[in-house]
């Protein structure tokens, strides 16, 4: 099995890569900007059973480079069975409200950069006619909340894009999976109080991602109960929702 992981140094992506190394002895093409962490992950995956690991160091602010390394990935392995896009930033909502450049930065990294990658990837998968494209979105994209609507919007852009791409790809036998984690204990959320019972570990999310891929799902909430939580949140009438400080 050949896997392309974009944003491979993210905690959720790392946990997923480890699972695929242990379970499938997969081949990996890992893309991220942090060379030290990326090569540490490459060694780690080999110990865990990966057959081959290739790494690519690049910053996703450099969108001109995307076609190049996507090409490299497909040259390395001919077919890519699974692509996982996992990079992202949580950003600072308040800063985004005050500074339009901060807002644009977040929209770029979380929103436009995956869209650009997906556009390239879709054309390749179209030719390939098989495999999975999976993107780590977020429950935050389901409804804008005052505490993080810029982040939410940046994820919603991709979620909506994928809804359409899914239909286009379904005819060709390509799975398009939108992953919506709730609260996950990762470096991204290091500064947030984790006292509530809703926090999951990246390893739990990885298990859910692999299951959703195997089952050919379109969309998955992780852990599952977020489907119900978001179901409720999305159905709160505006006049009530507007009074909640969520």
């Amino acid at each position: 099995m050949n896997i392309l992981i974009i944003g491979a140094s993210s905690a959720i992506a790392t946990a997923t890569a480890r699972l695929y190394a242990q379970k499938y002895k997969a081949n990996f093409f890992l893309v991220a900007r942090d060379e030290a962490r990326l090569s540490a992950l490459a060694d780690d995956l080999k110990v865990r059973g990966a057959t081959a690991v290739t790494i690519k160091v690049t910053d996703f602010t450099d969108d001109a480079a995307y076609p190049q390394w996507i090409e490299e990935a497909f040259t390395a392995y001919k077919t890519i069975d699974v692509t996982l896009i996992a990079h992202g930033i949580l950003g600072d909502q308040e800063a985004c409200e005050k500074d339009v450049n901060k807002m644009k930065e977040m929209m770029f990294i979380n929103g436009f950069s995956p869209l650009a990658m997906l556009t390239e990837l879709a054309n390749r998968y179209e030719k390939q006619g098989s495999g999975t494209i999976a993107f780590v979105s977020s429950v935050a994209g389901d409804r804008g909340r005052s505490s993080n609507y810029v982040y939410g919007a940046s994820k919603a852009v991709v979620t909506t894009f994928l809804q359409g791409l899914r239909v286009r790809m379904a005819k060709l036998g390509v799975q398009v999976l939108t992953i919506k984690p709730g609260f996950v204990d990762t470096p991204m959320t290091a500064d947030i109080d984790k006292s509530g019972p809703l926090w999951a570990k990246p390893e739990d999310i990885a298990v859910g991602i692999e299951k959703a891929i195997v089952k050919g799902k379109h969309e998955v909430y992780l852990p599952f109960f977020w489907r119900y939580i978001m179901g409720i949140i999305m159905h709160i009438p505006h006049f009530v929702f507007n009074k909640l400080s969520l």
Partner: protein, 443 residues
């Protein structure tokens, strides 16, 4: 607010600030949270019960993000990994390839660096010694940016100070350990119901050569002639090869204690009932079985966060070692004091430790009998009982295990670990812990 960097006993239960080192190449100065004037302390998975993994005068620096394997030579069983890799991760990767840890404590949710810092011991101490005896080398990162590769031949003084060094000599970034081959994921176990303390010592003695693993669980509700009665478990790794060892999933089917109940669920009644039931669970005197490694080594890991059942006040563990010559009399005295106090312990574990010398300057393991007890915290009553136990330990020339301690006196510590002064000389000037300040007064 929950305390992400708490200790296992959650006594004392206070918020601990912390941050994590992102890459093993990073210097500690890359951590913006740390400042020159406040000390920090390395932190693993917080499975130490008391305050040896706490530093309320400053930060703890977690190894949570240093969780990658570096290399594994499956021909010879040498594993190199980052400091924050847990024993559970290691087993998952190496067991299907026919290897196992040389030494494991009673939980697999500890980091390799944490296992070194407390020089942890297992049920096979009498055959292989403690964790530090199987460490080949590691890298020690000091707060001034110096990196020392430590082994018995390279920087040996730092090697010996860091094993059992309670995290005080520097931050371990990676570790290389020697594993042991196994033919199966199972153990041949034998459970013997015995009726007195004297019997415990004789079974221990007769098992030293024949069984790699030995441990006993004691019924703390027993008194008089049955004082010290319990179940003696002894085991060896299965020697038969049943084909390849299947993949290991150490997380599957685990229950979790999800919340902290407002009151401790452990009280005198439940302890007494549990102990009686447990003692009588087996009718025959002697029962043999083939037991999976997970059930054998880590029965308590079956319920994640079981420490929460002791309620918000937390609990205290008291683990001592009594030198062999005084073992029988002192253990008897300890059990008598506990049973007279009416404050039973939920779990009482007794084991004979062997003569393999520990490498660490102030390692806890040494030859003798080790007794471990858990008590829910009930204020002065609990502390008073523990002081009585301390007096017996002290008079018998014994010591308490820092990894399990939140309250021993400076005097008892310094008497039991005279080499603490040498460790103090090697302590990183920017590292300190609540424990170290408490038992040495060093700031």
């Amino acid at each position: 607010m929950a305390n992400t960097y708490s200790s296992w006993g959650r006594y004392p239960n206070r918020i601990q600030n912390g941050c994590s080192l992102k890459r093993r190449e990073d210097d500690l100065s890359s951590l913006s949270a740390l400042s020159k004037n406040t000390p920090f302390l390395p932190y693993g998975l917080g499975r130490s019960y008391g305050d040896s993994c706490q530093n309320h005068a400053g930060y703890v620096v977690s190894s949570a993000q240093l969780n990658s394997f570096i290399s594994f030579d499956s021909e010879v069983g040498i594993l190199r990994c980052e400091a924050g890799v847990s024993l559970s991760d290691i087993i998952q990767v190496v067991l299907p390839q026919g290897w196992f840890l040389q030494v494991t404590p009673g939980t697999k949710y500890v980091t390799v660096a944490g296992a070194i810092a407390n020089d942890v011991h297992g049920k096979n101490h009498h055959t292989v010694g403690s964790f530090g005896n199987h460490v080949i080398q590691f890298e020690l990162l000091r707060s001034d940016g110096t990196r020392l590769i430590c082994s018995e031949s390279q920087n040996p003084d730092w090697f010996y100070a860091t094993i059992g060094g309670l995290g005080l000599t520097g931050f371990i970034t990676w570790v290389e350990i020697q594993l042991r081959p196994v033919k199966s994921a199972n153990l041949d176990t034998e459970n013997i119901k015995y009726n007195s303390l004297a019997e415990f010592f004789s079974i221990s003695e007769e098992s030293v050569e024949s069984h790699e693993y030995t441990v006993a669980w004691l019924d703390c509700s027993a008194t008089g002639a049955s004082l010290g009665r319990g179940h003696f478990t002894r085991a060896n790794h299965c020697q038969k090869q049943y084909g390849p060892i299947p993949p290991v999933n150490t997380e599957k089917g685990k229950l979790s204690f999800p919340i902290t109940p407002p009151l401790s669920l452990i009280n005198n009644l439940s302890v007494k009932a549990f102990n009686e039931l447990y003692f009588n669970r087996q009718r025959e005197i002697n029962k043999t079985a083939v037991t999976n490694f997970d059930a054998f080594f880590y029965p308590l890991d079956g319920i994640l966060h079981w420490n929460r059942m002791y309620g918000p006040k937390g609990f205290l563990q008291h683990q001592c070692i009594i030198p062999k010559c005084n073992a029988e009399s002192a253990i008897k005295e300890l059990l008598e004091v506990i049973s007279a106090s009416g404050m039973g312990s939920f779990l009482v574990v007794l084991k004979m430790m062997g003569s393999v010398p520990s490498k660490g300057l102030i390692s806890f393991p040494s030859e003798g009998a080790t007794l471990a007890l858990d008590f829910p915290f009930h204020g002065a009553k609990t502390l008073g009982l523990l002081l009585k136990l301390d007096a017996i330990v002290s008079a018998a020339g014994g010591s308490l295990y820092p990894a399990k301690d939140a309250r021993m006196s400076a005097q008892l510590f310094q008497q039991a670990y005279p080499d603490w002064i040498k460790l103090e000389e090697k302590r990183d000037p920017n590292i300190n812990s609540d424990f170290w300040r408490r038992v040495t007064g060093c700031q």
